[in-house]
Amino acid sequence: MTMVSYEPFVTEDGRTIGGVLMEMRNITLRFGGVVAIKDISFDIREGEIRAIIGPNGAGKSSMLNVISGFYTPSEGEVWFEGQKRPPMRPYQVARQGIARTFQNIALFQGMSTLDNMMTGRITKMHSSLPAQALWWASAQREESEHREAVEKIVDFLEIQHIRKTPVGRLPYGLQKRVELGRALAAEPRLLLLDEPMAGMNVEEKEDMSRFILDVNDEFGTTIALIEHDMGVVMDLSDRVVVMDYGKKIGDGTPDEVRGNQEVIDAYLGVTHD
């Protein structure tokens, strides 16, 4: 088990990173005979942008799925906010304050941008089913409160013009942005982004990078992301985990990782796309 320091520290660009928010301890994930993740440990600290990188098939998405509860690890422990997490279903993980986006956009295609984001906020809404049916007025008040919070995120992401558009009709780049908005609507403690910039052009990538940095900066949201574009990763993240063939081969600041021989080999020594 890696020893981690729980003291806050200051990053290269002068921001303070807090204590450990989430810790993965000796995670192993098997699908039948295939080992997707082999004995990996790392932590995610409060307020940081943590990247998970690695060549195709390294097990990055599997790791994200373990964090968000879509996969249950075969071995190892997941610790969140200082407590060991029992095996959970994805919706329970979401209710703990972990929101995510997907590699292949998973929006509610038939709903408008606003409805998608309101649905993203569902864990924040507390009025019960009978209350909604009987006390129409109080349900309405709650609805408008949440609507206000969602509108703020709409402004933040600059998607006012597509608020009422069914998301199925939106271009790819905007769908990615709406998906980020839906995750933000939950006001998550930890935001997981699975390749937020995959398939985007340079301009869209720049926009998305800016939003990710702003989310981290303005809301103080802790972010863990998977990304292929090395340039983007190095610019965005405070610390990087490098995976290859299901194993962890590097962990540290972008500069440390860049100088790591094993990482260089994984990226240059073997073919990948």
Partner: protein, 331 residues
């Protein structure tokens, strides 16, 4: 106005009213299909079961009386009380929610991520099980359902419209029960639409219908939503059961109305609530008018097959139905 035309109008109005009842059953199908992609073959039996339970509770019947008597040699049939209609309806709704929980726990939970055809087969099994269970629980005799709904032709409408025609015309005959059914159906559709558009749970319901993974990721429990959907379908079945039961008595042929809902769905589209209503009305009016105009020429009894032929024509020219989502296969 010529009498023949007036009769035609009367037939049409009665067709509309019959269509409302078809639509009520079709509505239950649409709700479950939209939310889970399951074609619920048991929807008709659900309506039958709801009606049986309602009558049983209202008249203080002992559930499983025949079974108990056969095993213990007793002679019990009734508790000896009669419940007010409203209490019986609320209790029946409770039973339908309970049924939804049981269905989720024993069937749906074990068939997550299975092909739709497997789930369809499961609902066929459920239909036969429920029919048999209803039989054992409440007995198979035909029961009269009376929850105090007005019945019989509306004299007011008859008198007001009599003047339209000549001496041979006595005014429109419209069953008051049908009018109530139409009002209830309208109310049901409005409240369901409001619920699904503007409430948190309604939004969750649409989210699950759209994308299971995404729904999970925002914190929606699929199992809770299944129970909710089946409870709502149970509620719609109860309403349909009350209307049909009040009209023609609670009998096991009630489950066969479900088959009439099929052409209604093909017409309206499997995924559209307004489609279920419009489809029901078109079938209702269509088959009554067809029987009235063409029926005498071909020896009558066209109501048995007209709906299916109409649905067949629709399948050829517009397979997704009038309001259904267009099926686009991306290559």
């Amino acid at each position: 106005m010529p009498d023949q035309l007036l009769y035609g109008i009367e037939v049409m109005i009665n067709g509309l009213m019959a269509g409302v009842l078809y639509a009520l059953v079709a509505l239950g199908f649409v709700l479950i299909f939209k939310a889970s992609g399951i074609f619920n073959y048991a929807q008709g039996v659900l309506a039958l079961f709801a009606a049986l339970t309602l009558v049983g509770l209202q008249q203080g019947q002992v559930p499983f009386a025949h079974l108990i008597n056969a095993i213990f040699g007793t002679e019990i049939h009734h508790f000896g009380w009669e419940l007010p209609a409203i209490v019986a309806i609320v209790l029946t709704m409770g039973v339908m929610v309970l049924l939804a929980i049981v269905i989720e726990k024993f069937i749906l939970k074990h068939l997550v991520n299975q092909e739709p055809i497997i789930l369809f087969m499961a609902t066929i099994g459920l239909a036969y099980f429920l029919e048999g269970f209803g039989d054992i629980m409440w007995g198979s005799d035909i029961k009269t359902l009376d929850v105090g709904l007005p019945q019989g032709g509306s004299i007011w409408i008859e008198e007001k419209t009599a003047a339209l025609g000549g001496d041979g015309f006595y005014g429109f005959f419209i069953d008051r029960l049908d009018i109530v059914a139409a009002l209830v159906a309208a109310l049901l559709v409005i409240s369901l639409t409001l619920f699904s558009q503007f409430s948190k749970q309604g939004r969750a319901l649409r989210a699950v219908a759209d994308d299971h993974q995404a729904a999970l990721s925002v914190g929606i429990s699929l199992r809770f939503i299944w129970v909710l959907v089946w409870s709502i379908a149970g509620f719609v079945a109860l309403v349909a059961g009350i209307m049909w039961g009040a009209k023609s008595g609670v009998q096991f042929s009630l489950s066969l109305i479900a088959l009439k809902a099929l052409p209604v769905l093909m017409l309206g589209g499997f995924t559209s609530i307004p489609g279920a209503i419009v489809g029901g009305l078109i079938i209702g009016v269509g088959e009554k008018l067809f029987e009235f105009t063409i029926g005498p020429m071909v020896g009558g009894a066209t109501e048995n097959w007209f709906a299916y032929v109409l649905a067949l024509v629709f399948l050829v020219f517009r397979p997704q139905g009038l309001f259904g989502e267009k099926i686009i296969e991306r290559v």
